[in-house]
């Protein structure tokens, strides 16, 4: 039992002597190293968020350059080639390097908190996902310095992207970079799915999960099944480009439609991967600030699931102009109209949620309501695309650009901004300034509409997208200028947001406390910022919005009345928990100490958390090495030495990873957790203890007899 009782990592502790592998386990790393080796889901989440925000700034600057070029007819700021690279990178960045990882930041940080867990199922895999995302992003962006960025659009239509029409490495960077990001997303999705299905707190049934967690689950499944499809498409393109196969080569009978089918079979679920997390965030924010339960919780859950399923049956509406024939076109027209139904159901549910609520117009609430309005506009223009004749008229015009920016910016980014304002106190312990926040919101809303609303008309007037300039005779110069002005208003709004972050962190810090918004879900029961171990005790859940019901109840006349203070309600989530592993004496100790325990890896309470590790970052680093090796290997006589080197690093890293225990024990062979193997445990009493109460060593206290059994192994 002793190993269990010891605090797990102490500065004096040396790594296990016979630990195989290349690298000794990092012991109590500091500063940058502590972030690079961290496997804490909260740190990984913060890293995801910060990195995605940096990519957001880069992608935003690309958009500004595009808008400057289009501000006037026959613009000369960008060449056609530079324009191609910028719109390709803008799309690729915003989809793969901003919205997906920004959602992943919230997934990682919040899902364990919302389901009452101490970490994700595979903490090191989680770190691996993040590092691979970062390195994949850097890999794609390195193309700017290595001969030119990808220039075939974010959809990369073959055979335009084949070696015949796109010689040079531009497209190769895109192909390999997206493979890396795909691996990162898939691994992350598996991790989250397992976490949500397996690690919910007692009483947290699926139908009691917060909506954000539900939407995370749906979009994780979409990632899981959509990513392999684009993986195959990219592999086929890679073989075409680097090894001379003919999948997309019409000369040999290859079919360009194969690429489009594969890409959009991934691409349409991807749209829902981008929007569902934001829908989840909005579904969390609205009830809190309307001070009403979410209207029709099960209906919203099921319409989210319905969207997840139906998202697989509509991809051909991206291909109406390819001439697939009337039957396919009609079928996909109808399915596309149908998918608007669950989305519409959600919109009505959200409206019903705020209907007659006592609404608090916080910045988060404004963004959430902005989401409903803007996303509805985007959804409606989406329905117009389901009408195939109309769609054929609008294909490849700015009308399409207007539509998908209304769903991705007006939808996903509004939701994410709302989420940032809402959960910021939980992440960092202080509130963002509300006055600046309102400036942020209104400039964001006005700038967004000024930028993208004119594009509907620009498109209907016939201006094609992906073309680097236009002539004055098209008659859209004034609208384009308005759009460019709008894009700079958005840029100003982003600056206000950044100023707000600086102001609220450094200048005027307003400490949030556990529950600044009078929240409804489990993450608000724990301190802000979240302590390293999340929950001192694993909570027990009895209903949807469990925390709320512990604070409020209805009186005889159906009015809402307080039944307990927040502190009492927090205490109540901790009582009656048979599985709660920390004994009472220890709980008070935890409370006493939790304030000065925020940034070490040592949890200090004997709550056994996963230890930091070098291997995730090393494994993630090996994959770009392989990619560079493959990319340049095909140049001169198929020399794949560097790729092989990358493969060896990967193998070594994974081997070291496999040999390294997730959480460092005190002794080489940890006591078996399985009753079948008592022989491995030091003594009979230890075996008995393990068999009964010790089954969750995560939480066993370090209060007592720590030194007594050190030698038992």
């Amino acid at each position: 039992m002793t190993t269990v009782l010891e605090p797990i990592i102490t500065p004096e502790q040396s790594p296990v002597a016979d630990e195989p592998g290349l690298l000794r386990r990092p012991v109590n790393p500091k500063g940058v190293w502590s972030w690079m080796t961290s496997v804490d889901h909260k740190r990984v989440g913060v890293l995801y968020g910060v990195t995605a925000f940096v990519f957001f700034l880069i992608g935003g600057m690309e958009a500004l350059l595009i808008r400057l070029q289009l501000a006037k007819p026959n613009g000369t700021i960008l060449s056609a080639e530079a324009y191609n690279q910028l719109f390709t990178m803008h799309g690729t960045t915003m989809v793969f390097l901003v919205i997906m990882p920004m959602s992943a930041a919230f997934f990682n940080y919040l899902v364990p908190l919302q389901i009452g867990a101490r970490d994700v199922a595979f903490p090191r895999l989680n770190a691996f996902s993040y590092w691979l995302f970062l390195f994949g992003g850097i890999f794609i962006y390195s193309s700017f310095f290595l001969g030119g960025a990808p220039n075939g659009g974010w959809f990369g239509y073959a055979p335009n992207t084949s070696i015949t029409f796109s010689p040079g490495h531009n497209i190769d960077f895109w192909v390999f970079g997206l493979q890396l990001l795909g691996i990162a997303s898939t691994v992350g999705a598996i991790n989250l799915i397992v976490t949500m299905l397996n690690m919910r707190a007692p009483g947290m049934t699926l139908m009691r999960m917060p909506l954000f967690t539900w939407m995370t689950l749906v979009s994780s499944f979409l990632i899981l099944f959509a990513m392999p499809v684009i993986t195959v498409a990219l592999f086929l393109l890679m073989f075409d480009r680097n090894f001379g196969s003919h999948f997309f080569d019409p000369v040999f009978g290859g079919d360009p439609l194969l690429w489009q089918h594969l890409f959009w079979l991934f691409g349409h679920p991807e749209v829902y991967i981008l929007i569902l997390p934001a829908m989840g965030m909005v579904s969390e924010i609205l009830p809190v600030f309307a001070r009403k339960p979410l209207f029709g919780y099960p209906v919203i859950v099921f319409s989210g699931i319905a969207i997840g399923f139906m998202g697989w049956g509509v991809w051909v509406h991206h291909m109406f102009s390819t001439g697939l024939g009337p039957v396919a076109t009609s079928a996909f027209s109808i399915s596309t109209m149908f998918i608007a139904v669950p989305t519409g159901v959600k919109i009505f549910n959200w409206i019903a949620t705020i209907w007659r609520g006592s609404i608090k117009f916080t910045t988060a609430m404004l963004f959430a309501m902005g989401f409903i309005a803007m996303f509805t506009i985007g959804g409606l223009s989406g329905v117009t695309h389901s009408i195939s004749p109309h769609d054929r008229q609008q294909t490849d015009t700015y009308y399409v650009v207007a539509h998908f920016h209304y769903v991705l910016f007006g939808g996903a980014l509004f939701g994410i901004m709302g989420g940032i304002y809402y959960w910021w106190p939980k992440f960092f312990g202080n509130l963002l300034n509300e006055r600046l926040g309102k400036w942020n919101f209104w400039t964001w809303l006005v700038g967004f509409n000024l930028t993208f609303a004119p594009m509907h008309i620009i498109g209907l007037q016939g201006m094609p997208r992906r073309v680097y300039t236009y002539d004055e005779s098209l008659g859209v110069a004034a609208l384009n200028m308005a759009s460019t002005v709008g894009s700079f208003v958005i840029a100003g709004s982003v600056l206000i947001f950044m100023y707000n972050v600086w102001y609220s962190q450094k200048k005027r810090r307003v400490v949030a406390g556990n529950d600044p918004w009078d929240g409804r879900t489990l993450e608000w029961t724990i301190p802000s910022p979240t302590p390293h171990y999340n929950f001192a005790e694993i909570p027990t859940v009895t209903s949807v919005d469990d925390f709320w019901h512990k604070k409020y109840e209805e009186d005889d006349k159906g009015r809402m009345v307080r039944r307990a203070s927040t502190e009492m309600a927090v205490a109540e989530t901790r009582t009656g928990v048979d599985e709660a592993p920390v004994d009472d004496a220890h709980v008070s100790e935890v409370h006493a100490e939790e304030d000065h325990d925020r940034d070490g890896h040592d949890d200090g309470h004997g709550i056994h958390l996963p230890s930091p590790s070098y291997f995730p970052i090393l494994a993630a680093l090996s994959l770009p090495v392989m990619s560079y090796g493959m990319l340049y290997g095909s140049d001169g006589g198929q020399n794949y030495l560097i790729a092989v080197l990358g493969g060896i690093i990967l193998f070594a890293a994974l081997y070291g990873w496999g040999m390294e225990p997730s959480a460092e024990p005190e002794e080489p062979e940890p006591p078996a957790r399985d009753e079948r193997a008592p022989a491995l445990v030091g003594g009979p009493s230890d075996a008995a203890a393990l068999g009964s109460g010790g089954d969750d060593r995560a939480a066993t206290s370090d209060a007592t007899d720590a030194p007594s059994g050190q030698g038992s192994s």
């Binding site: 101490r118 598996i190 799915i193 397992v194 299905l197 397996n198 499809v229 994959l623 994974l654 390294e660």
Partner: protein, 208 residues
């Protein structure tokens, strides 16, 4: 790509949440993750097989399937691969009984059978290339080599995984309580076999 190796590298039993004692589904995290990964793999092979089907009989020049296929040879190597599923089950049964010697025997047998299959595939590829069919020749060549090559890579990773497990067991680091590691590795191995049954049927046996 990472997953086969992460099977080798099971999250350790000291992981607070790792083992099947209190998970909501009753499945351990590792096993659930492997099932999820295999679900993802279904789509991967599904897309590849679809691409193969799309181009069946569309090649504009020879040699094509009927010119190069050696069905008896491939049947034998398919049989070898299928037998490896049996030895994999025997390996699992051995570790569950605590019979570590037999565990290693069956693990090594499975790895050798898998390696024989790969050897057969290498032989098949070189024969085809000698007969004038490469990935560059025509659509059949492109889709055949990519699809079967992908499967071959999966088998190879599986062999590496099995040899790693064998090595672990030899050094006494694979106790009976870790039988689930073998079970999860087996899930992957059986999946790769099942996919081969599908590939063998649809690309070798069904005539164009």
């Amino acid at each position: 790509m990472a997953t086969p190796a992460s099977v080798v590298g099971q999250e350790h039993p000291t992981d607070p949440h790792a083992h099947g004692h209190v998970t909501n589904t009753g499945l351990s995290n590792e096993k659930l993750a492997m099932w999820a990964f295999l679900g993802s793999e279904c789509l991967l092979f599904g897309a590849l097989i679809s691409a193969f089907f799309l181009y069946r009989g569309k090649s504009q020049s020879g040699p094509t399937a009927e010119d190069v296929y050696d069905i008896p040879f491939t049947s034998v190597s398919s049989f070898v691969l299928l037998m490896s599923s049996l030895t994999m089950v025997l390996a699992l049964s051995a570790i569950q009984r605590g019979d570590h010697r037999r565990l290693r025997v069956w693990l090594m047998a499975t790895a050798l059978l898998g390696a024989s299959f790969i050897a057969g595939q290498v032989y098949e590829f070189t024969t085809f290339i000698r007969e004038g069919l490469t990935i560059k020749t025509n659509l059949f060549g492109s889709s055949f080599f990519v699809l079967t090559g992908f499967h071959g890579v999966h088998v190879t990773l599986g062999v590496v995984m099995l040899l790693s497990l064998w090595n672990l067991s030899l050094r006494g680091r694979l106790g009976q309580e870790k039988a689930e590691v073998i079970e999860i590795a087996g899930l992957y191995w059986h999946f790769v076999d099942v996919v081969w049954i599908l590939i063998f049927t649809v690309i070798y046996l069904i005539p164009e």
